[in-house]
Symmetry: C2
Subunit: 206 residues, 2 copies
């Protein structure tokens, strides 16, 4: 395969604008943007129109919950407003997708704080970007008794949990980290040694 | 790793609608649609808004050229309207992207017919879907002396060229196929302009 420059200029202004605009999508380069534009215009104009309206509707109505920072259409999200949630527990997650996974586990009825990212100094994501001040304010509101750190077990997720944990413990809060271990249904034979080591360390009496 | 179902219901109607709508994009499943929606809402609302407008603008204004079927904002595209193009040559390509590649080779000054696909009976794409009647009408308009088949050298592209070639030759037209300077199994969209130039110069009557 010889290298060649990618020309996606079609000399049709609205089509070229669409190709350009599609590059706002994560992981979409010029070539796949053009493929997407052609596909939509040729096979799925109804879908393109629906997507156009959905994008404008979403940018106009979706905001961050004032209490937990997750996406919501209102000032305070449904979870934060619910009288059924236990205000003594605050679970810290990286993204709304992570929050959704914890909800699906069916084992948590406290509240959340969604960092909308994780600390990543090289990408310019510091304490301000993950809303640390708001989190401290929330955690020290008098209702919260325990903060559960449920950031990912990646290098950055761990560093973020460590950083937040230190700050909140210094304010006298009880802070915990979800356990590492063998996944449900997992077999030890197919689990990596590091995970097994953590499962051993995090063992609990039964 | 245990299998788990993908839940992308956020219980935020506009966000769920956006995730659904993003699946109109080719190759985008529920999980990457959600990742795209989160990314846009978190990091690039300006881009999301631009994309929304571009989609609505494109669906409202982009149509097919009445002469050559390519995308255009007008009834007849700029290429078909140009007095500088030689109406004695008609080059048949699968897509606007292929047409663009031939233009970039700088060796062709005739007109085009864009099939907007290729024959693919298993996908329900037959002569009607590639606009065969319009192509025959165009090729037999009295101006065209030679039809150059520049469909891809894939199985379907070859079959399409063979089929169109038979029909047009039966109407007394001179029909040629671009040369296999393009590697066997290769697609024009991914071939460098120099190779395409050779393939055009080496075309032979079929
Ligand atoms: Zn909330
Ligand atoms: Zn045209």
């Amino acid at each position: 395969m010889t290298a060649r420059s990618v020309n996606t200029q079609n000399d049709i202004p609205t089509l070229d604008s669409l190709v350009d605009a599609l590059r706002a999508l994560p992981g979409v380069g010029p070539k796949s943007a053009q493929r997407m534009a052609f596909h939509l215009m040729q096979y799925n104009r109804g879908g393109a129109e629906r997507l156009g309206h959905a994008l404008l509707q979403a940018t106009a109505t979706i905001q961050h919950c004032e209490h937990c920072h997750t996406f919501t259409e209102e000032t305070i999200c449904a979870t934060c407003r619910s009288p059924l949630r236990d205000p003594a527990q605050l679970c810290v997650v990286e993204t709304p997708a992570d929050q959704l996974m914890i909800e699906q586990s069916g084992t948590y009825s406290g509240l959340y704080f969604v960092l909308m990212g994780r600390l990543s100094p090289l990408d310019g994501i510091g304490p301000k970007e993950i809303g640390l001040d708001k989190l401290i304010q929330r955690a020290t509101n008098g209702d919260v008794e325990e903060v559960i750190l449920a950031t990912n077990f990646t290098h950055e997720g761990d560093a973020t949990a460590h950083y937040i944990g230190q700050i909140l413990r210094a304010r006298g809060l009880r802070v915990s980290r979800i356990a590492r271990g063998v996944p449900a249904g997992g077999e030890l034979e197919y689990t990596d040694a590091g995970t097994i080591a953590h499962a051993l360390l995090d063992r609990r009496e039964v």
